[in-house]
């Protein structure tokens, strides 16, 4: 299954972008990742033998996250994007969302990736384990700890 340029951008560019942003916390780097992932896809899509959109999405997300790790590693810098950087561009419209953003961004990147895939992309822990290349148990424990940390930080919002 091969999608056209328009199809893949319309359907998946936002997903790739969100995954990258959740990992890198930098809008410019996230845009670069979208570009890189699309480039990789169209360069090798004939060889991928992807048969369903679900598999394609998983492949794109995995490639995006690997690329994020690559960026973090090759740049040899700790991305500590200021919350304000993102907030300035997003202009969250309520304090609650801002608090959530702050809490999520304060998580270590290994937890953010799991949170993104679980809560936004709604993957199961088994699929997340496959996408991130982690044992399922690690995903589960990271998810649990991330939830604990978020609950602690978002005391009062936890039921939302």
């Amino acid at each position: 299954m091969i999608l056209t340029v328009d199809e893949i951008i319309d359907r998946y560019a936002d997903h790739i972008y969100r995954a990258a942003l959740s990992y890198l916390k930098d809008t410019h780097d996230a845009e670069d990742v979208v570009n890189d992932v699309l480039m990789k896809y169209f360069t090798m899509c004939e060889k991928l033998d992807i048969e369903s959109e679900e598999h394609l999405k998983a492949w794109l997300l995995r490639t995006a996250i690997n690329r994020c790790k690559d960026i973090l590693g090759s740049a040899r810098k700790k991305h500590e994007t200021k919350l304000e950087d993102i907030h300035d561009t997003k202009a969250d419209n309520c304090d609650t969302l801002l608090d959530v953003r702050q809490a999520v961004n304060a998580l270590d990147d290994k937890y953010r990736a799991v949170v993104f895939l679980y809560y936004y992309e709604e993957y199961g822990t088994k699929d997340i384990a496959s996408i991130l290349g982690l044992p399922k148990g690690t995903v589960v424990s990271r998810l649990k700890r991330a939830r604990d940390m978020l609950r602690q930080k978002l005391n009062g919002y936890e039921r939302e």
């Binding site: 056209t4 044992p135 148990g137």
Partner: protein
């Protein structure tokens, strides 16, 4: 946590950015700029057809039209079956031709552009057998009969046997054999004789339309066949994207069923005043001739009634077989046999059933390699189930079988000269071993023959420091970039745990990366997408976990501590002559470490964690066993990252 979803929802690429991307990629990849979505839409529409179509309802309409004459029933049935397989096919070419039989199946898929098959003759045969089986099902369904499926596969042997088997069950059900007979009738009407093809019909009794597909084998030993519908198109509903192929496995419960059937037959004969001779009854193997593969040697259908009031072995077999139960299923599933043992009196007449055995033979050599026995007086104890036999099965099938038996699974890879790559060499504990649910079964998966691929090199990570390992990578011309991350994870005894690094390897890796101690587990996402293998090691007191990820360059070797231990609480310590076992708890996580008492080397780590799923606490366990240890070579020095 819905706020989190809202949070991410608000993060989007701007429309301007998307348009810029589209423009750039259209120019760079003009071949993908055109609208090729027709393929996708076709597929979606076909899938909708599958979901929305109700074969049974359509079958009825067609079948009423076909009541007038048998010939018309055949044609109507074929037309309906054609409709069904059309619905299942993902790519039915447009403009297919209809032959005089109302059957447009023989030509259409031979068109160019259909990528679903390579072997045209076998594919077309599979398609016709599928059509025949569907027609048979339709016919039976409209006569108010259901197929009693004991196996789930109707193979060529059964079809040929069915030509001589004329029994009809009047209870509203039909046996697999009767279904096979009707399938054969339709197939031969379409010019396809089961004697000329190595065919099998795959059923799934859970489906509304139970005829799943027909396979025609080119090489059964190698498992090479053409399937119709192509099995790739049957993936719907399987969340891992694979088709669950039907495999026969037996347990003690099956032996019990066999025992009960034998007992029932025995008691019925006795009630009618017959004596059962034990002569030649002690072992009746339903041996299917593996060379012809098309007939059963000694299942001779004799009437159960006897002229001398003595039931001999063949007559007892016949009665067992007629039950259409476990004995029947076993008889038609080479390489399985069964054995019924009788208790007898001094005159050589049976006084009861002593035991029933299901005997599974090696597929290649026909040697017995597993037996499940049920003896008179045995008690079925679900609390003591045994490990299913999954030897020789593909790993994902085996994993599903083990998990469905409520065991945890750990996969280990090793080379094996005889077991094909990806198949189970053996399990630990071995098949048939009583084991409580929740325990762990280790499956040893074959990596194929060692050194089979001359391009394959072995990168050994035997106890070396990370730097040494990276050096080995460099020596093989991998460009490696890496970074260390700090962590506050510590081991229970205070050792530093959290060395983590990312290594990108740009070479075309055909190497297998191994450690000198046991590989703990393998996660496979999709064979064509990504495989992840985990390697554990001890380096000078450090724990590390390496994960090789990616199926295409660049590959990534992620190395990090596996055990994210934070302030564990010591619970207990046990000592015996050789080992020390320490128990720790950290919230929902339990850790059990076993050390060699003499050397201090850690032997195993068991991590048990609990988590909530829909308000219910689930438990998972990972155990890592270490069998070799590196020398303590001093303090670990991190390579210069530069």
């Amino acid at each position: 946590m819905k706020r989190i979803k809202e949070l991410y929802e608000s993060d989007k690429l701007s429309d301007e950015k998307k348009e810029a991307l589209k423009l750039a990629f259209r120019q760079k990849f003009p071949q993908y700029a055109e609208d090729i979505s027709g393929k996708t839409e076709d597929k979606i529409m076909q899938e909708n057809t599958i979901k929305m179509s109700t074969p049974k309802a359509k079958v009825k309409t067609k079948a009423f039209a076909g009541v007038a004459a048998a010939a018309l029933v055949l044609v109507a049935g074929m037309a309906v079956a054609k409709h069904i397989y059309t619905a299942r096919s993902l790519q039915e070419p447009a403009g297919s031709q209809v032959d005089v039989g109302g059957n447009d199946i023989s030509q259409s898929d031979t068109d160019e552009g259909n990528p679903m098959f390579e072997n045209e003759e076998e594919f077309t045969a599979a398609k016709n057998f599928f059509c025949a089986a569907s027609s048979a099902y339709v016919d039976l369904y409209d006569n108010g009969k259901n197929i009693v499926s004991h196996g789930d596969i109707i193979d060529g042997r059964m079809i040929l046997i069915s030509r001589e088997e004329k029994s009809v069950n009047s209870s509203g059900t039909v046996s697999e054999l009767e279904f096979a007979a009707l399938t054969d009738e339709y197939a031969r009407g379409m010019g396809y004789d089961a004697a000329e093809w190595d065919v099998e019909i795959v059923l799934n009794s859970d489906e509304e339309m139970p005829v799943m597909c027909a396979r025609v084998y080119l090489d059964r030993a190698q498992g090479i066949y053409e399937s119709y519908p192509p099995e790739d198109s049957l993936k719907e509903g399987n969340d891992d994207g694979r088709v669950d192929l039907v495999e026969y496995t037996y347990t003690n419960k099956d032996a019990k069923m066999l025992f009960d059937e034998a007992k029932k037959v025995f008691e019925e004969f006795k009630a009618e005043g017959y004596d059962i001779s034990c002569k030649d009854v002690s072992e009746r193997d339903y041996v299917i001739n593996p060379t012809s593969g098309l007939h059963i040697d000694d299942v001779e259908k004799k009437p159960a009634n006897t002229t001398d009031n003595i039931i001999d072995a063949d007559e007892f077999d016949k009665a067992l077989y007629d039950l259409g139960g476990m004995a029947y299923t076993i008889a038609f599933n080479h390489p399985c046999n069964f054995v019924i043992e009788f208790t007898s009196d001094d005159s050589g007449y049976a006084t009861g059933i002593a035991s029933a055995k299901v005997v599974i033979n090696n597929r290649e050599s026909s040697e017995k390699f597993d037996t499940f026995t049920w003896k008179d007086g045995d008690v079925l104890d679900d609390a003591k189930p045994s490990v299913p036999d999954v030897v020789d099965l593909e790993s994902y099938i085996a994993e599903n079988i083990i998990k469905s038996a409520n065991y945890n699974v750990v996969l280990c890879s090793q080379y094996d000269d005889s077991v094909p790559e990806g198949c189970v060499i053996e399990s630990e504990p071995a098949a048939g071993t009583p084991l409580k649910p929740g325990e762990t079964v280790t499956l040893f998966i074959s990596k194929g023959k060692q050194g089979e691929n001359t391009d394959t090199d072995e990168l050994s990570y035997e106890g070396s420091y990370t730097a040494e390992f990276l050096s080995k990578l460099d020596n093989r011309h991998f460009s490696a970039e890496y970074e260390y991350y700090d962590s506050d994870d510590v081991s229970p005894d205070g050792r530093y745990l959290a060395l983590r690094q990312s290594v990108e390897m740009n070479g075309d890796i055909t190497h297998r990366l191994t450690t000198n101690y046991s590989v703990s587990e393998t996660d496979t996402w999709e064979e064509y997408m990504t495989s992840t293998e985990h390697y554990s090691s001890i380096n000078g007191g450090e724990w590390e976990l390496g994960q090789l990820t990616g199926s295409t360059p660049p590959y990534y070797l992620m190395m990090e501590s596996h055990f994210e231990v934070q302030e564990p609480v010591f619970i207990n310590r046990e000592e015996n002559e050789d080992k020390v076992t320490e128990y720790f708890n950290e919230g929902d996580d339990d850790y059990i470490y076993t050390y060699d008492k003499n050397t201090g080397n850690i032997l195993s780590c068991k991590h048990i964690w609990r988590y909530d799923v829909n308000g219910k606490t689930q438990t998972s366990t990972t155990e890592r066993v270490f069998t070799k240890f590196s020398e303590d070579v001093g303090e670990l020095t991190l390579p210069d990252i530069g």
